[in-house]
């Protein structure tokens, strides 16, 4: 197996402890939970997506565990501005606040609450299952560019997370780049549904949800590969990563770092597990690996 050398990592303007970040919405609702994941080996953490107003989220069921993935429709539950107090004790740690809003002004307002208190922002333009939010913006290049610019204007590192639920993800990636994004995160969940044959209705309260976990890994690798060919800013690969070999594969597709979400379900210590396989003192330099599948 290919392994890489440990060492300092900076991606999209953010200094990380290693190449592995906790993905948005996974154990990211409280400061102490994020802190626990950092102490369990995450090189950085992304918070639950925070919006302009508090939201309770969708009625349950919110989540279904499948053979090879997770189907969820949480509905962006979040405490809004009160979250500032949650992350305050984590100042100076590699914490990215995930932000969502209905328009550029809302994105800017939420970002303003956290300026100077976190390492950077990740814009959730891509949540596929909340009315008027998320995918409605993330599928429109003009809006993506405007929302990105509204936040990147703060000068704080701004990562933009993309939905795979579009015909051409590169047009959205390029829009984020024009808006001043310092990195692109790909991907959010893939729109999906399961039906309970016993109860004769969709298994989620919201009926539609987003698929994550191993099942979407090939989709995520394809998206990262396409974005690497068309964008210059760094890419953070996300979607179905659950082993060191998956991390290497994402890097070969073009990712400078990865985010891990669903794999936490089976192993809350997944970061330590992957790190011990991924890093070797005599491993290759990450530079030699990132994007290498594009050559030749």
């Amino acid at each position: 197996m290919v392994s890489i050398r440990p060492g300092p990592v900076t991606v999209g303007g953010v200094a990380l402890d290693n190449h592995l970040l906790l993905a948005a919405g996974i154990l990211g609702t409280t400061g102490s939970s994020l802190n626990r994941m950092l102490s369990l080996g995450a090189g950085g953490v992304v918070t639950k997506s925070i919006g302009p107003y508090p939201k309770d989220g969708h009625a349950g069921p919110c989540l279904a565990v499948l053979d090879d993935g997770i189907l969820n429709a949480m509905g962006l539950p979040n405490p809004s501005k009160e979250f500032v107090d949650e992350v305050a004790p984590l100042i100076k740690k590699p914490v990215m606040v995930s932000i969502f809003g209905g328009n550029p002004a809302e994105f800017a307002r939420v970002a303003g609450w956290f300026e100077g208190k976190v390492a950077g922002f990740e814009l959730n333009l891509s949540c596929p299952h909340a009315e008027g939010y998320g995918a409605a913006i993330g599928t429109d290049p003009g809006l993506v560019e405007a929302c990105t610019r509204a936040v990147s204007a703060t000068g704080v590192p701004t990562w933009v997370k993309l939905t795979p639920n579009v015909t051409d993800i590169t047009s959205i990636g390029k829009a984020a780049e024009r808006g001043g994004a310092s990195a692109i995160v790909a991907i959010n969940t893939v729109r999906a549904m399961r039906i309970s044959t016993g109860l004769r209705r969709p298994v989620l309260g919201n009926r539609y949800g987003g698929l994550s976990g191993s099942a979407v890994f090939p989709v995520a690798v394809r998206c990262v590969y396409e974005l690497y060919e068309s964008c210059k800013i760094p890419i953070i690969g996300c979607g179905g990563v659950s082993s060191a070999d998956n991390v290497i594969e994402m890097m070969m597709a073009g990712a400078s770092a990865v985010e891990i979400g669903s794999a936490v379900l089976n192993n809350v210590k997944i970061f330590e597990t992957i790190k011990s396989d991924l890093y070797k003192k005599d491993g290759l330099s990450p530079k030699e690996i990132i994007g290498c599948a594009h050559h030749g």
Partner: protein, 257 residues
């Protein structure tokens, strides 16, 4: 990667509904779920919501009317369907001489513990006599002492006062489930006696996924997940924590108790 278990909700049919008190009913299901006492399931009330409920036996849940989903359940009867995910969580640690302390619907997860034949003594509390849960079933399997807030049966006052009449040194474990303020009072008492480490509390926090991934049930300052690392926690872990002080609502905002 290690494969995830396909654990879509299992459809179950309600066989019977038993009225326990004016506010509490037991739903008997047509399927059994092997479990350890203290574990819970996520109960899907179709069209309404999905909520956590302790198993009161392999095929029953015992539900107190609280809000939307539980009220909707009270309208269900024999033949109606629910979805069940689980069991989840850790359950109570086994002991040989257990003291169990139950308040209100908190008796639900403690009944199967008492039936497992390890509970020497059980302290049962409720607001008033008619709200006492499982008096007869518990009497059959353990030594029960009763307290009611209004004194309508047993000791008049909080169930914690009954602890003063016991030699707590006799028990190797203490298992507690009930309203959080009552559990906090028990924690203060066992801390004073230096036995917080052998006392376990079953916690209630807002649960959305029940699977340990969404973060809605995490407690401060450990960041542990009530649905996965709990719901049963040792007293010494709860001493300097949010327990008894605040919890978070569905949005994640703190609410003082």
């Amino acid at each position: 990667m290690p494969t995830m278990d396909d654990s879509l909700s299992v459809p179950v049919t309600i066989l019977r509904v038993r009225k326990e008190t004016s506010l509490i009913r037991t739903f008997v299901l047509d399927r059994s779920f092997p479990f350890s006492p203290g574990q819970f399931v996520m109960v899907w009330v179709p069209g309404i919501d999905e909520i956590p409920m302790a198993l009161s036996s392999e095929n029953t849940i015992t539900v107190q009317k609280a809000g939307d989903a539980t009220t909707a359940m009270f309208a269900l009867g024999a033949g109606d369907k629910l979805g069940i995910r689980g069991p989840f969580g850790n359950g109570f640690t086994k002991g040989e001489k257990v003291l169990a302390i139950a308040g209100g619907v908190g008796a639900a997860p403690l009944l199967p513990l008492a039936r497992a034949d390890c509970v020497m003594t059980l302290l049962l509390g409720a607001k008033t006599e008619s709200e006492l849960l499982f008096v007869d079933q518990l009497d059959e399997c353990t030594d029960v002492f009763i307290a009611t807030d209004d004194g309508s049966l047993g000791f008049g006052g909080f169930v914690t006062a009954l602890m003063d009449d016991l030699n707590l040194g006799v028990y190797d474990r203490i298992a507690v489930c009930g309203p959080e303020m009552m559990m906090r009072a028990v924690l203060a008492k066992v801390e004073e006696k230096g036995i917080a480490h052998k006392t376990e509390f079953s916690l209630h926090r807002y649960m959305k996924c029940g699977s340990g991934i969404c973060g809605s049930c995490c407690i401060d300052p450990s960041g542990l997940r009530v649905c996965r690392d709990g719901p049963v926690f040792s007293g010494d872990l709860l001493l300097k924590s949010e327990f008894g002080h605040y919890m978070r609502d569905a949005s994640g905002r703190k609410k003082n108790l």
